[in-house]
Assembly symmetry: C2
Homo-oligomer: 332 residues x 2
């Protein structure tokens, strides 16, 4: 059983994934994987993944067979185990609990050759619906406090399989960076009685200098103090704390905002590897006035490493105003 | 002038290094640099670096000429500018200040072919003295609140030049991860009236399972909840909040602990790229009872990326007990 362990000094939880323990010799052989070859996410290989937990399929097609446009399956090498109790435990001054959680893969399309940005607005919308449907389902499990949705595109961004997919991790804790955002936003709310993200959206839309794209419901922008060059956030223009509580019209607009933002990055930066993460409210804190869900997109452009991880200190060589201007001007 | 900007939500400061602004096209050409070739850190090329701010030299040798065993020079492409006032300023809801600070390079030895771990204990001790001497000097500048000392070894860990060197950045703010550690340690101290790091050292030395190496003054160990495989910390066994206030005997023992720990990693992991960072107390908070300086060493073994940066959530495939056992058993 993997373990969740808490750093006693700063309180950060990490997963120690004992089930796939790596010995020193395992690290020596990490190298570029050959491209091509067998793909467990392609049509016809449905039996090479764990059984699907959700699929969008044509009429008459059977589960775990071809005929799908999108599939969600448990990760074959999960970082967490879906079965078992949490069992919080001490170990001297330390705290730990069982590594209980869900780890799922969203296979975004049957087409091996297309990245998310290459899909149609409708296909991207169905990816967004899959995110939402899985969150709604997993929220029923009282062990979970947070559901992270994220995507690694490209090997340099951590993707181990080429076929375009996103991931979901349901956790018995709230990840550190989200809880910091919520704490900061609550402090601001207590002081101003306004959502800080709403204030950011308002100031950015007035200034315009960091805006990348905008439609009726969403704005895509370079944040004022980005950690990485060309980091871009997509936020709903109106206050909403939970990603999964969107209206259909909103998801349609989100699909478009996401596709256009990714396409602009692809054109500007030559199809860069990237990560995105949905920051939404915790499972047990829905419809809160101080938090505002959003997507953070980070292209993998600079070789930053343990220094940033060890200090929390970032040097960004590209002013967000310049990045936004560049992306804004690109026609998609 | 580079800018320091504060994320309005979580309060993290980042450097926007406007002086070396990168346009999208600059990222396209980032690739492996050719090895060999001209090295500005080698003997005879002293005029290719900015003038030295410190050097340990043989009798009769002149500044910025050969004859040195260690040199400290300003970074030729500094992330911060040494001249100017801080000038805190608002911009609507945002906060910024001038990117004032020092950015120096410690050239650890004249020998291009040797990494830090290949040096003798005496040579490593002189690197430690250089760290200390520069901290003592820069502490006199009232604009600075924190001095970070760190090292990137190997290109995958962010080193842009092969010749072994460390870096120093003096900042008008305390980096986020250090201030979180100090806040967490203070909370523990207020509750227990004991230093949490002293308690960790005590528990780890009793348990033994995460200890890598120990001498009279230092212990090197795998932390209970490490972010990365084979992450290793070196801590003074006795309470001490500030790195630069060590005794000579302590620095001698530190040199040995650092060399042996790095050598064990080199043998176990085939000379991995790595980062290390010295976490010490802020410039204006010396001799505090709740904080305990230490070195965090992180080999670059796994391809983690924006996901971890965007969530603060880490999955570590190697239990620290296994990593420590492996390193402990290696004879150096």
């Amino acid at each position: 059983m993997p373990e969740l362990r808490k750093d006693p000094i700063i309180g950060r939880w990490v997963i120690i994934a004992t089930e796939r323990a790596k010995r020193p010799s395992d690290f020596k052989i990490i190298q570029e994987k050959p491209k091509g070859g067998f793909c467990p996410f392609c049509v016809g290989n449905e039996d090479k993944t764990p059984h699907e937990v959700l699929a969008y399929r044509g009429d008459g097609s059977c589960a775990n067979r071809p005929g799908w446009s999108l599939r969600v399956v448990p990760n074959k090498f999960p970082a967490l185990m879906i079965e078992g109790g949490i069992q919080r435990e001490g170990d001297g001054i330390y705290d730990k609990m069982n590594g209980v959680g869900a780890h799922e893969v969203i296979i975004e399309s049957p087409d091996h050759s297309k990245t998310l940005a290459d899909l149609t607005d409708q296909q991207i919308e169905s990816v967004i619906w899959a995110y939402r449907d899985r969150i709604i389902d997993l929220t029923k499990d009282s062990r979970f406090r947070y559901i992270i949705i994220f995507k690694n595109q490209g090997e340099a961004a951590g993707a181990s399989l080429e076929h375009s997919h996103s991931q979901l991790i349901a956790l018995p804790i709230v990840p550190r960076y989200v809880s910091e955002e919520i704490a900061g936003a609550l402090e601001y709310y207590n002081f101003k009685e306004r959502c800080i993200f709403c204030d950011i959206v308002r100031q950015e839309r007035t200034d315009g200098i960091r805006v990348v794209y905008e439609n009726d419901f969403f704005v895509s922008l370079a944040p004022f103090a980005p950690k990485f060059p060309f980091e871009t956030w997509i936020l709903p223009k109106n206050h909403q704390s939970s990603f999964e509580n969107g209206q259909m019209l909103e998801y349609q607009n989100l699909a478009k905002a996401l596709r256009i933002t990714l396409m602009k990055m692809n054109i500007a930066l030559d199809r860069p590897p990237y990560n995105f993460i949905i920051h939404t409210s915790p499972v047990r804190e829905k419809n809160i006035p101080h938090y505002h869900w959003h997507i953070e997109i980070m292209p993998t452009l600079t070789k930053v490493a343990g220094f940033e991880w060890g200090s929390g200190f970032y040097i960004n060589p590209t002013p967000p105003e310049e990045a936004a201007e560049f992306l804004r001007k690109i026609e998609v």
